[in-house]
Amino acid sequence: MNFPAELKYSKDHEWVMMDGGVAVIGITDFAQDALGDVVFVNLPQEGDEVGMGEAFGDVESVKAVSDLNSPVSGTVCAVNEAALDSPESLNSDPYGTWLIKVQDLGDTEELMDAEAYKAFCETVA
């Protein structure tokens, strides 16, 4: 299981990369492993508002559908079309496959660093 040190992590198993005033959001290696084969992703559109702790989309595996909860509130400024077209890349490259970018950031959930998130995963595994 991979936990890149340069990223921050949420309790809902999303990773966040702060890029200036923009939050880049994806799902973690732990999340993709728990989901199994990802077959479909629903994402918001550019310009949509997202709220902290609220669902901004969902990700479907063969087995089940899971909500994607936003760790930040703000405005969606980019959506990764490549993730929509080939959702299996969330399994093969979870940290290389961002889902949305959010700007005009308001609230931000308290995020964990890699070490804390790794420990968190061990408690829920």
Binding site: D37, V39, F40, D58, E60, V62, K63, V65, E88, N91
Partner: protein, 409 residues
């Protein structure tokens, strides 16, 4: 919570890195590290092994066994010759299903009834009191022996190349054979739950089950879990109790003839007069025949049927989602997910795998009987209505050795 039961292959699953889940009280592999999609595709192009040791198994014997089976099963057990198996359903008085099952006649004096693992106790509670009225016995041998389903285009060559397995090559669908493979005695049937034109189920002692699992892996087969078992049966439009049989999304029992396969599993031949639910089933049957001709005058006896559906918009359909036509709800999805397929050109021996794969959101829905193949419907997927089409089939499997995906819409 009681301890989960383990099949004789439990350690093999754990060693292979499988994700294990509670399935009907058994600790079973849902998928191996390769994942459900890879396991599904490998079954269609090569050969997969499924641990089916957890399935319920009842032995029925005694002088009146045939009379008993004719009463509690929908198919004609008297037509089942030694060395043959048949798909059958355990009916309730109202013409709904208690369970579906496979009946194997290995020997002259006893039959094996294989039932769903999750229904073992329920089925026994249903069957045993009825058996008391007959000079026969029903004994539960679930878990006493192992069983492996060997499914896919290479299954025949693999099994028949084992020493003593030559006769497997000429087995027909639903044939059963008792034989000695590499010095080990086994029972093998040409049956399965994947829709593969070539597939077998092997029954063996615990020790021989472990041996065969390892041997077939050495020969190039791969293990597949319950996840792929479900997507494969869904693609083949085979019913699963609790989805296409039993209660509908409203909690009402679904008639047996709602499932198209009932056509081959219910018999009204001489000797079936005492079958439980005979009257209800006869009415459903009459309505079924009329509906197939486009005549809905008897639809009150079979108001809804299960048909394959294909999602046309982007998304995934899942069990329980409501289905609409012209703005009115006409039923529910009974099974559905995103299912992968090989892009294949041609069929039979001339089939060519192009090397590319696709995936499609397909499944089955329990809908008003007036709905026919080709009709456009809508499925409500988490608040949005998505377009779907009622399809004849998702898979063509009439020619050996490959099941060919039928892409609708």
């Amino acid at each position: 919570m009681s301890e989960l039961k383990r099949t004789v292959l439990y350690q093999a699953h754990v060693d292979a890195g499988a994700d294990m889940v509670d399935f009907g009280g058994w600790d079973m592999p849902v998928q191996y590290p390769s994942g459900i999609i890879a396991e599904h595709l490998f079954t269609r192009s090569e050969c997969s092994l499924f641990d089916v040791s957890h399935m319920g198994r009842l032995i029925v014997g005694g002088p009146d066994r045939l009379k008993f089976l004719q009463k509690v099963l929908t198919n004609d057990a008297s037509a089942l010759e030694i060395g043959r198996a048949q798909y059958t359903i355990i009916p309730a008085e109202d013409g709904s299903a208690v369970d579906d099952a496979y009946l194997y006649r290995f020997t002259d004096d006893r039959c094996l009834l294989v039932i769903n693992a999750a229904n073992i106790e329920k089925d026994k509670e249903w069957l045993l009191p009825i058996a008391e009225g007959f000079d026969c016995f029903v004994s539960d041998i679930s878990g006493e022996t192992g069983s492996i389903a060997v499914q896919g285009p290479r299954s025949r060559d693999m099994l028949s190349s084992l020493k003593g397995g030559e006769a497997i090559a000429s087995m027909k669908r639903n044939d059963i054979l008792s034989l000695t493979l590499e010095g080990r005695s086994m029972m093998i049937s040409r049956t399965g739950y994947t829709g593969e034109p070539l597939g077998y189920e092997v029954f063996a002692s615990n020790e021989d089950t472990v041996w065969l699992w390892g041997k077939l892996l050495e020969m190039g087969a791969k293990p597949a879990g319950l996840g792929a078992r479900d997507t494969l049966r869904m693609e083949a439009s085979m019913p699963l109790y609790g989805h296409e049989m039993g209660l509908d999304a409203d909690g009402k029992p679904m008639p047996i003839y709602a499932v198209f396969l009932a056509k081959f599993a219910v018999s009204f031949a001489e000797g079936k007069e005492d079958m439980i639910g005979y009257e209800a089933l006869a009415k459903q049957h009459e309505a079924f025949l009329k509906i197939l001709e486009g005549d809905h005058s008897l639809a009150a006896d079979l108001p809804r049927r299960i048909q394959p559906i294909t999602l046309l918009d982007r998304g995934v359909i899942r069990a329980g989602m409501p289905v609409f036509k012209d703005g009115e709800q006409v039923g529910w999805v009974t099974s559905g997910t995103m299912i992968p397929y090989h892009v294949i050109e041609g069929e039979g021996k001339d089939a060519v795998f192009t090397g590319s794969t696709g995936k499609r959101a397909i499944g089955a829905a329990y809908m008003d009987s007036t709905i026919a193949e080709g009709d456009k419907v809508e499925v409500e997927v988490r608040g949005r209505r998505l377009n779907a089409v009622v399809s004849k089939t998702h898979l063509k499997n009439s020619k050996i050795p490959y099941a060919i995906p039928v892409i609708n819409g």
